[in-house]
């Protein structure tokens, strides 16, 4: 799916490059935060120094795992793309950085994907797959019952959605800046159709891989941080909650996630619904677009010719076509986003209400800005209290000694 040079025209490539650079700048900040969240409890406030080695090794892992061939049937085989997997394992921002670095190195060293198309490639393959995959994953983890199996199921769905979403994003870029006037409907159906198939494979492999990691080191799966069960001690033959010190490990996860997750979930949900709506609206507009196309074919053809003769740098633009598609697509998209947001919030609200009814509701009590007394009482202020020895993962412990 690496886009080569000359496929997307120069202005759109430049715009995509600027967008990709902005996304990477955001992710550079976000990755520090993610690494700080993953680092041992309260060890460092700033995860910046951890980011480079860990993200570098994860990028090397993605690079290697793309070479691992999964046989499909006699003779054919596929491989992992890794965007959704990276997002689930190390977090969305670090995931974007890792995939972007892999793409950069592939472009520079192996001539895989054009240099001018690097922006498009990063935007489509690193940003869209990772962000969509993570948004879907996080949303599902919130909604599904807690447990290892639902994490695997969420990983499956996330990877399944992320690949066609990237294909849809590519179609969008192509619609704006493609150099050949192929009917958009055809591009969309071909791209999305093929990538749904690829997505199924990607989904199966991602789910199996996440399952394998979560069985061995659940603390390494960034997407499933909130799901760790608090440590219990066996005192005199019965299980009791471990005292304050071990709770600090669980508490940041439990307390940070509801406060943060509202906003993140909202933003992520909105983004996912936007992308999905765009993708649905393409299907919705394929038919009328095709009809209009047939009707207006001659006229556009003449326009195209004149453009080429007039030597406009945007001769390959096909403006009329875009205007139509985007108008109808945009309208459908706006309506779609509205409906999705309303439906999504209704479901979310209902689930929240049900959880509040049940007794374990850390997700429900934290109202932004005004924490209820119960929430405060339940969680001993996590960050203020240094408790280095409470670390369940022994391997990371020397970090505090060093």
């Amino acid at each position: 799916m690496h886009v080569p040079d000359g496929f997307i025209n120069a202005p759109v490539s430049a715009a995509a490059g600027a967008l990709a650079a902005g996304a990477i700048a955001v992710c550079l900040r976000g990755a520090r935060r993610e690494q700080a969240a993953l680092s041992p409890a309260g060890a460092v406030a700033d995860g910046g120094e951890r980011t480079a080695p860990l993200a570098g090794l994860v990028a090397a892992f993605i690079f290697a795992v793309q070479m691992l061939n999964f046989p499909v049937a006699a003779g054919t085989s596929g491989h992992l793309l890794g965007g959704a997997l990276a997002a689930i394992l190390v977090g969305p921002c670090t995931g974007v950085l890792c995939v972007a670095v892999v793409l950069l190195m592939q472009g520079l060293l192996f001539a895989d994907g054009g240099l001018t198309a690097l922006g498009v490639n990063v935007l489509v393959m690193a940003v869209v797959t990772t962000v969509v995959g993570y948004a879907v994953f996080r949303g599902l983890v919130k909604v599904l019952p807690r447990g290892r199996r639902s994490v695997t199921a969420a990983a499956f769905t996330a990877a399944l959605v992320s690949v066609p979403a990237a294909a849809a994003a590519f179609t969008l870029v192509y619609a704006v800046g493609g150099t050949t006037d192929v009917p958009l409907g055809k591009v969309a159906t071909a791209m999305i159709g093929v990538h749904v198939l690829i997505g199924v494979g990607e989904a199966a492999i991602t789910a199996l891989t996440v399952g394998a990691v979560i069985a061995v080191r659940p603390d390494l799966v960034y997407g499933a941080r909130g799901l760790t069960v608090p440590l219990k001690l066996r005192v005199g033959g019965e299980l009791v909650d471990a005292p304050a010190a071990p709770a600090t490990r669980a508490a940041p996860a439990a307390s940070a996630s509801p406060a943060r997750s509202h906003r993140t979930l909202w933003a992520a949900g909105l983004l996912a619904s936007l992308v999905l709506a765009g993708f649905v609206s393409f299907y919705a507009s394929t038919d009328p677009d095709g009809l209009e196309k047939v009707a207006a074919d001659k006229g556009f053809d003449k326009g195209e010719k004149e453009h080429a003769a007039a030597d406009s740098p945007l001769a390959d633009y096909g403006v009329g076509d875009i205007a139509d598609t985007r108008l109808s697509g945009g309208l459908a998209g706006v309506i779609g986003v509205g409906v999705t947001v309303v439906a999504g919030s209704a479901v979310f609200w209902a689930v929240r209400r049900r959880r509040t009814g049940g007794d374990d509701g850390p997700a429900s009590t934290a109202v932004e800005g005004t924490p209820t007394p119960r929430a405060v009482g339940a969680e001993p202020a996590p960050r203020a209290e240094p408790a280095p020895r409470a670390e369940p993962a022994p391997r990371t412990q020397p970090a505090e000694d060093a």
Binding site: P4, D5, G6, F7, A10, S13, L28, G48, E49, R50, T51, A52, P53, L54, G56, L57, V58, A59, A60, F61, F63, A64, V65, M67, N69, F70, P71, A73, V90, L97, A100, V101, M105, L109, F110, A111, G114, L115, T116, T179, T180, D181, V182, I205, L208, T209, G211, A212, V213, V216, R217, L220, D297, E304, D311, P313, D316, R395, P398, A402
Partner: protein, 254 residues
């Protein structure tokens, strides 16, 4: 790390192109590709001139043509797509050998093939004449965010280690009689991928601790600042500037 510190595409030689500072080469290639992409596709001769320009650079860099052409095979999957374009594009149609092809599609296929091939050829030349470390130094000199450069340098430094780990796992699987034949074996392969992730991540943690214990605070010290003289810049930018002249000629003549 037994494979040495050069990547597979690098070809060692002593030539003026090898000796250029990396950031000038990176800039030159990027500008060249940009110029190529913005050339009108009707100016067929311009692309021939670009190919000649690249060939002369390859000659100056002492990259044998066979080596260079073999590397171009990477774009084969995409050629297949380009060949499909004349059949699916719309607009005026023309008959070639009894097939009805779209004129627009033919132009599109030519456009993608010519520009894509020139882009790949330029990147291959860059990779063949620049070592990995130099490439990273060049990126750093071009003001890529330092964190990104560090991630990239860790990736290339440990890429071989992780790949080797994967190879050892494959040898272990195969020596126990495992052979991946179909979808049913995905579980085993995915477990290997999961194990690979855990090993990579834990290696990253160890590397981080080792670095922290040697005084790492999040930035790498710059020991060797690469600089380029005016003559070197001129030499490197000769390629994109010539290409720019050709491109402008192309715009005026067609």
């Amino acid at each position: 790390m037994g494979a040495g510190h050069a990547h597979r595409l690098y070809r060692h030689a002593r030539s003026p192109v090898h000796a250029l500072p990396p950031h000038t080469k990176l800039t030159a290639v990027l500008c060249f590709v940009l110029v190529v992409v913005s050339t009108p596709r009707e100016a067929v001769w311009a692309f021939a001139v670009y190919a000649l320009l690249l060939a002369s650079v390859a000659y100056a860099a002492r990259v044998p043509p066979a080596f260079w052409l073999k590397r171009l095979l990477i774009e084969v999957p995409f050629v297949a797509f380009a060949l499909l374009l004349p059949f699916v594009a719309q607009g005026e149609r023309t008959g070639v050998l009894g097939l009805s092809l779209s004129v627009e599609g033919l132009w599109g296929a030519w456009n993608v093939l010519a520009k894509g091939t020139l882009g790949v050829a330029a990147s291959v030349l860059l990779a063949a004449t620049t070592e990995l470390r130099d490439l990273l130094l060049g990126l750093q000199r071009l003001r890529l965010p330092p964190l990104l450069v560090q991630i990239a340098s860790f990736m290339v430094r440990y890429g071989d280690v992780v790949t080797d780990e994967m190879r050892r796992m494959r040898v272990a699987r195969e020596s126990r009689g495992f052979e991946a034949r179909g979808v049913r074996h995905w579980g085993v392969l995915a477990k290997s991928a999961g194990a690979l992730f855990i090993r990579s991540y834990e290696r990253g943690e160890r590397v981080h601790l080792a670095m922290v214990s040697r005084g790492y605070t999040g930035t790498m010290p710059v020991i060797d600042e690469v600089t380029a003289s005016r003559a070197q810049w001129t030499y490197a930018l000769a390629l994109p500037l010539t290409a720019l002249a050709v491109c402008l000629l192309g715009w005026t003549l067609t």
